[in-house]
């Protein structure tokens, strides 16, 4: 709602004459800095400082509880790159990230296109479509464990009744990655719906009318009118979704924890957590967080370089 206001309102200059009817000793800029100080301190102290500290830790051998803290140079990184489990976690992370983001985008954009049409009960269905996103993750995971339960679960029963996927054990070692991707898609696709739907509603109907006059069918109208209009919003949504999914911890951990099955979904965030809080190697964990951080920065830079056009955003 704020976004629709004209920019002129935003650019109203601060008029000191009228504002300084109260006696004030401090200059304007000092007030500004003072007001923003608590926010800046919190972000500096609890987000940016930890990132720097993480960099420092990654060059040290540090135990989680014992007072061991020695500088070991690049050893943590050398060990990390020599660790087969580390590369495996990157591979699993890529499968999870690409799989779940891809599905979220396909399902989310399809649902948004459908919810943008006019039909009876649209408001209700729009509300229902946002449900999965507001259910707390811990509930989503326990609920899905119940629905997929091999003895009493309702989904295996339904699938058996309609005759597909009868004997799939959803939570065994071969299917658990697929299951965690599907669960993540279920709970996060509404994020894509929200963004896409908001944009669809602002597309000028005349564009469609013009395309119709030119004889474009449904498919061509989607490709030549809708998709280009969605480009900007999808650019941001895909970036954010990928950032979030690549660093996703709770869904995967809650589903499998440190159990044996969990080995088959041990993505980089999970492996980092296990290294730090399971094996108590804080330095090694910090090296992995730093690597994850650098990977994301590189990804974002490449992503911007490849997909962003200057006239777009």
């Amino acid at each position: 709602m704020a976004a629709v206001l004209p920019d002129q309102v935003l650019a109203v200059p601060v008029r000191r004459r009228a504002l300084s009817t109260q006696p004030r000793r401090l200059p304007e800029s000092t007030w500004g800095y003072l007001l923003i100080l608590p926010a800046v301190l919190l972000v500096l102290g609890l987000i940016l400082y930890p990132v720097v500290y993480s960099g420092w830790l990654s060059f040290h051998n540090k135990h989680a509880y014992l007072p061991i803290e020695t500088f070991i140079g690049f050893s943590n990184f050398a060990n990390m790159f020599g660790d087969g489990e580390f590369w495996r976690s990157i591979e699993l992370g890529a499968i999870y990230g690409i799989g779940s983001v891809g599905l979220q985008i396909v399902v989310g954009v399809s649902a948004a296109l459908l919810l943008n049409e006019t039909f009876i009960g649209r408001t209700f269905i729009r509300g229902v479509a946002l449900f999965p996103y507001m259910v707390p993750t811990v509930v989503v995971v326990i609920l899905m464990k119940w629905i997929l339960n091999d003895a009493y679960g309702v989904l295996p029963y339904i699938l058996k009744t309609i005759g597909i996927g009868e004997d799939i054990l959803w939570l065994d070692t071969t299917h658990v990655m697929l299951t965690v991707i599907l669960i993540s898609t279920w709970t996060f696709f509404p994020f894509v719906v929200i963004g896409t739907l908001a944009r669809l509603q602002t597309i000028d109907p005349e564009l469609y009318a013009a395309a119709k006059v030119d004889g474009a069918g449904v498919v061509r109208r989607f490709i030549h009118v809708t998709l280009p209009q969605l480009r900007n919003v999808l650019f941001v949504v895909i970036l954010l979704r990928f950032m979030f999914m690549f660093t996703k911890f709770d869904v995967i951990w809650l589903l499998n924890g440190s159990s044996g099955v969990g080995y088959y979904t041990r993505t980089l965030p999970i492996y980092t957590y296990i290294k730090t809080f399971g094996q108590l190697q804080v330095g090694a964990g910090a090296a992995m967080s730093m690597f994850m951080f650098l990977m994301l920065v590189c990804f974002a830079m490449v992503y911007f370089r490849v997909f962003r056009r200057d006239e777009d955003i």
Binding site: G32, L46, G127, M134, V135, P136, M292
Partner: protein, 280 residues
């Protein structure tokens, strides 16, 4: 003769079929959770799940509150999420007001820099964050959690409030101050009420961040007395043979506050999404 446009009919059928599918896929799991939570065990633990049954009771809810520490987790979650929300609103309002009403060097750079940290996932900093909290003596304390949630919701909250404050004309507070109101009074009585949708959106956003968080609570909290719902629930699930009826009852209780808040601010949240992530 009636001329039927079959393409039209077909697309209408497809449309309603798709809508029904969305409703089913998104709604059914939650309906199933509610149904399971009010059924006796003999209707829950059956190889052929019952879609219709006529025997309902509240026993699972009673057990949840009587036999487990769920009520402790619930109170802890309310306390932590509530404090984090109030704290965030206070800090974010100050910052957004400072940025929109005073000129100072680097204010836009600071705003942009803060927003950039919105992309930082908790897992990236959980290792040093834990060490930091431990040396500050904030491990195993609700205060540590409040700090974590406040900090993580601040960037987005500040950005959203900034957009709202920018849209409020300066004349209004000038008028209030000319009439003799002090600046804090003008802000509290004129600006905040006008930016109320933004303040509400920020509250919900922060509340849900705190209400849902698993990672910070898992790492920072050990005492059973201090656990919040996500870790308390996870531990209940892992503790014994799963009592599905009770687990689903817990799921319903945890979901309701998030659901209610979400429905209340759905409009504002989508507006905020537009103001924040898309237009920027």
């Amino acid at each position: 003769m009636i001329d039927i446009d079959w393409r039209q009919v077909f697309s209408q059928i497809a449309l309603y079929f798709g809508a029904a599918l969305i409703a089913l896929v998104c709604g059914f799991p939650l309906l199933w959770m509610v149904l399971t939570s009010v059924r006796p065990d003999r209707d829950i633990l059956t190889a052929t799940p019952k879609f219709w049954s006529f025997d309902y009771h509240w026993q699972h809810y009673v057990n949840l509150f009587d036999l487990t520490d769920f009520h402790i987790y619930f109170v802890n979650s309310i306390t932590v999420a509530g404090s984090a929300t109030l704290f965030t609103i206070f800090v974010a309002t100050l910052a957004a007001y400072g940025i929109t009403r005073f000129r100072f060097g680097g204010r836009n750079a600071i705003a942009a820099g803060m927003l950039f940290t919105y992309m930082f996932a908790p897992i990236l900093i959980i290792v040093p964050f834990y060490i930091l909290m431990r040396s500050a003596g904030l491990v195993n304390s609700k205060l540590g959690l409040v700090f974590a949630y406040t900090t993580f919701s601040l960037p987005f909250s500040m950005w959203l409030l900034r957009a709202f404050f920018q849209s409020i004309p300066l004349d209004l507070e000038e008028a209030a101050m000319t009439d003799g109101a002090s600046r804090p009074k003008a802000v509290a009585l004129v600006i905040v009420p006008l930016a109320l949708p933004g303040v509400i959106a920020v509250s919900i956003f922060t509340f849900i961040v705190a209400w849902n968080d698993y990672l910070f609570a898992r790492v920072l909290i050990n005492d059973n007395e201090l656990k919040t719902l996500p870790i308390g629930m996870d531990d209940l699930y892992n503790a014994t043979v799963t009592d599905w009826g009770m687990m689903m009852a817990g799921g319903v209780v945890i979901t309701i506050p998030a659901l209610v808040f979400f429905i209340l601010v759905q409009r504002y949240l989508i507006a905020g999404w537009g103001a924040g992530a898309v237009k920027g």
